[in-house]
């Protein structure tokens, strides 16, 4: 009995594209206010996304660009998500890398582009200060919200100011 692990060797990426196609369709037909996402390459493995800062947070009124990269193992591995817009936040480092459980050990195959973006949006207003990537931000969040907000604004750039 011959193993044919490669019979559908292309199946991996084809299925990823299929699944992402479905997610895109879902986002287009049921748009969620405050988030957007769209593929930037034809095989759907790279997406650009935006989230609006939630009202009543230091991020209110700001828009953040993100990049999402999907491996061929998606949705069984989390997408790689980075903030492209500089952001001052306890759980995001200065390169835009994010520390969020659902992008790591809590990732589940039932999650999606929109659930990731919604989680990130809520992370803006509810940082996890017990495991910060930006220790200063975590401290300021608790102690000096005025200074915190000043740093948020100082660091922020509008999407049109970004080169990419």
């Amino acid at each position: 009995m011959a193993l044919s692990a490669g019979t559908r060797s292309n199946g991996g990426s084809a299925n990823v594209a299929q699944r992402l196609q479905k997610e895109l369709m879902d986002i287009m037909t049921h748009p969620t206010p405050g988030i957007s996402a769209f593929p930037v390459d034809e095989n759907m493995t790279s997406w650009a996304a935006t989230i609006d800062g939630p009202a009543d947070t230091p991020y209110a009124g700001l828009t953040f660009k993100l990049s999402m990269e999907f491996a061929t193992t998606y949705p069984y591995t989390a997408p790689t998500v980075l903030f492209k817009t500089p952001i001052y936040h306890p759980n995001v480092d200065f390169s835009g890398r994010i520390c969020l459980d659902i992008l790591k050990e809590k990732w589940a195959a039932t999650m999606s582009v929109s659930s990731v973006l919604l989680s990130l949006q809520s992370l803006l207003g509810e940082p996890n200060n017990s495991s910060p990537l930006n220790g200063q931000a975590a401290e300021l969040w608790d102690k000096d919200m005025v200074e915190y907000k000043r740093l948020v604004i100082a660091r922020h750039k509008n999407p049109e100011e970004l080169e990419t």
Binding site: M1, A5, G11, D26, Y76, C99, E105, K106, W107, N128
Partner: protein, 555 residues
């Protein structure tokens, strides 16, 4: 072949280990991780959590070696973090391997520590075959899902597959109730249904390809992950719909537990997950699920601890005819196990040549003590072989072992079968030596007693192991020529059939003496380079109805 168990104890790399977290905090408090939930439900088998922790420690050590050696910069720490997150253990081999003889396991552990050696040495006697699952962190889920489909195939009943489709679909209520979006889980469920469909088609076509279809499907990463995810969702939905059954064993609320330990894409199954799958998927169709724990625990002497999920009829009574799915657990890893009768389905017989039916298929007994004759055209022949049924325990109690039986005589079957001395010419010289202690037995009613005195005479003193001595493979080399080499549950007996017995039966193979069949010259012997397991047909050979009497064999 496989480097176990360290390589296969995989899949937890996604969690930065607590040790790592500690180290990182030490040097750079800005980088941090959430600690891995390490505590486990209390009912876990001994060694469970510490074994998993062992795996974490491995990753941690690697990181620590490069971490504190110098003060790492942000970039370097991020790089380390990425390495840690992306760490993929070296996983080799197919996602699900071919079925192979468990003697390979005994062989693999021959240099391991005694606890493992003794346990694996006794394994081939009870469990003839096993199948590897790749240790990529999904092996437990994969092993259950695969054996589930395989057990369904065992009945070779198309209707059964179709019924399963309906039943699984009916469970989608649970999925909805647990809050899973239908269009999300349907992607995963559809792969499972499509596999059921393909298996049914293959059964209808009677082309014997169903096993290959199943194996192919589980070796297709995309199909396999879909099915595994579907099973995870079923388990999660089951736990969430039976919170009272599970909450006492969990450290979190049921929802959090499920998201961390069941639904998370990268999480190996734990005991709660196994339980949930057993309750949700396995037991309702009358399958039993058995997990053998091959670890260092000294539960029952040389026996491997077994946990069995037993299906019950709606009236609460145990079911009579049960298909059993068997898993072999080694710290951090699951593989699949089989008894001989598990694989002897009509379907399989089409794929492998069946040797001519001789009156004595004694080589089968070398692989199992569970051989159960199924038809009655040969009523008493099997019962004339002392030791063929050393346990006297029937198929319905497979988890019991013959080591429990009160026979005071040391059981030679713990001597690994690899101790066979080559028999230069299979038939002639052995036949004469046979005569020295073999009395032909024609009537079955006197064949059950092995006077202990006879027994001891027949065993060279050196060959009686002191309990719980590990097997001594080299001993048999010293045996005199009068000793007939045997493996498995056989022990020398004065009540033995003459080599010519049953010669009236048609033979196609030149050497069909029991000696030959027990030697490695037989292709059905696992030491034969052309090893080919013999298959038996439940419909055409052997007798039923003699199980009861075997109990007296070992008195």
């Amino acid at each position: 072949m496989m480097s176990r168990p360290s390589v296969l104890a995989a899949g937890f790399h996604a969690y930065p280990p607590p040790a790592f977290e500690h180290v990182v905090h030490h040097h750079h408090p800005g980088v941090s991780y959430r600690p891995l939930p390490t505590s486990r439900p209390p009912e876990l088998p001994a060694g469970y959590s510490q074994q998993h922790t062992g795996h974490h420690a491995r990753t941690a050590t690697q990181v620590r070696m490069s971490g504190p050696a110098y003060m790492a910069s942000d970039e370097e720490l991020a790089q380390l973090q990425k390495l840690s997150q992306d760490y993929q253990p070296e996983t080799t081999g197919p996602l699900v391997g071919e079925r192979q003889s468990t003697s390979a396991l005994a062989h693999e552990y021959r240099d391991a520590d005694p606890a493992y050696r003794v346990k694996t040495a006794s394994l081939p006697d009870k469990y003839a075959f096993f199948r590897t699952c790749r240790g990529d962190g999904h092996c437990g889920w994969r092993a259950i899902a695969f054996t589930y489909f395989e057990a369904l195939l065992r009945a070779a009943d198309v209707t059964r597959l179709e019924d399963e489709h309906v039943r699984l679909r009916s469970m989608h209520n649970l999925l909805n109730h647990a809050g899973f979006a239908e269009d999300v889980y349907n992607d995963f469920a559809d792969e499972a249904f499509e596999l059921l469909q393909r298996l049914a088609d293959s059964l209808r076509a009677l082309d014997g390809s169903a096993d290959a279809v199943l194996l192919d499907a589980f070796n297709d990463p995309s199909v396999a992950m879909s099915i595994i995810t579907y099973f995870k969702l079923l388990a999660s939905a089951w736990i969430q719909s039976h919170p009272n059954d599970y909450a006492p064993f969990l450290d979190y609320d049921v929802k959090t537990y499920c998201s961390l330990n069941i639904e998370a894409a990268q999480c190996e199954i734990d005991h709660v997950g196994i339980n949930a799958l057993a309750e949700a998927v396995v037991k309702p169709i009358g399958f039993a699920l058995e997990v053998l724990y091959l670890d260092r625990s000294q539960g029952q002497g040389d026996e491997i601890d077994t946990h069995r999920f037993e299906p019950t009829a709606p009236n609460g009574q145990p079911l009579q005819s049960i298909t059993t799915m068997r898993l072999l657990y080694r710290p951090g890893h699951y593989d699949i196990l089989y008894k001989v009768e598990d694989v002897a389905s009509p379907m399989l017989q089409q794929q492998q040549p069946v040797p001519t039916q001789a009156p004595l298929q004694v080589n089968l007994a070398g692989y199992t003590d569970e051989f159960v004759p199924m038809s009655s055209n040969m009523p008493d022949i099997m019962t004339m072989i002392p030791g063929l049924y050393p346990s006297g325990i029937g198929q319905r109690w497979p988890s019991l072992s013959y080591d429990c039986d009160p026979n005071p005589v040391p059981q030679p079957q713990i001597t690994p079968v690899s101790a066979y001395a080559p028999t230069p010419t299979p038939a002639a010289p052995v036949a004469s030596s046979h005569q020295e202690y073999i009395t032909p037995v024609r009537a079955s009613h006197i064949s059950y007693h092995n006077p202990p005195s006879n027994h001891i005479q027949l065993q060279p003193p050196v060959n009686i192991p002191m309990h719980p001595a590990p097997p001594q493979p080299s001993l048999s080399i010293d045996r005199g020529p009068a000793i007939v080499e045997r493996g498995g549950p056989f022990r020398p007996s004065m009540y033995e059939l003459e080599p010519g017995f049953g010669s009236g039966q048609p033979h196609s193979l030149p050497f069909q003496t029991s000696i030959f069949r027990n030697s490695h010259y037989n292709t059905a012997h696992f030491l034969n380079p052309d090893f080919q397991p013999e298959e038996w047909s439940p419909d055409s050979e052997y007798a039923t109805g003699n199980r009861g009497r075997h109990k007296s064999t070992s008195q």
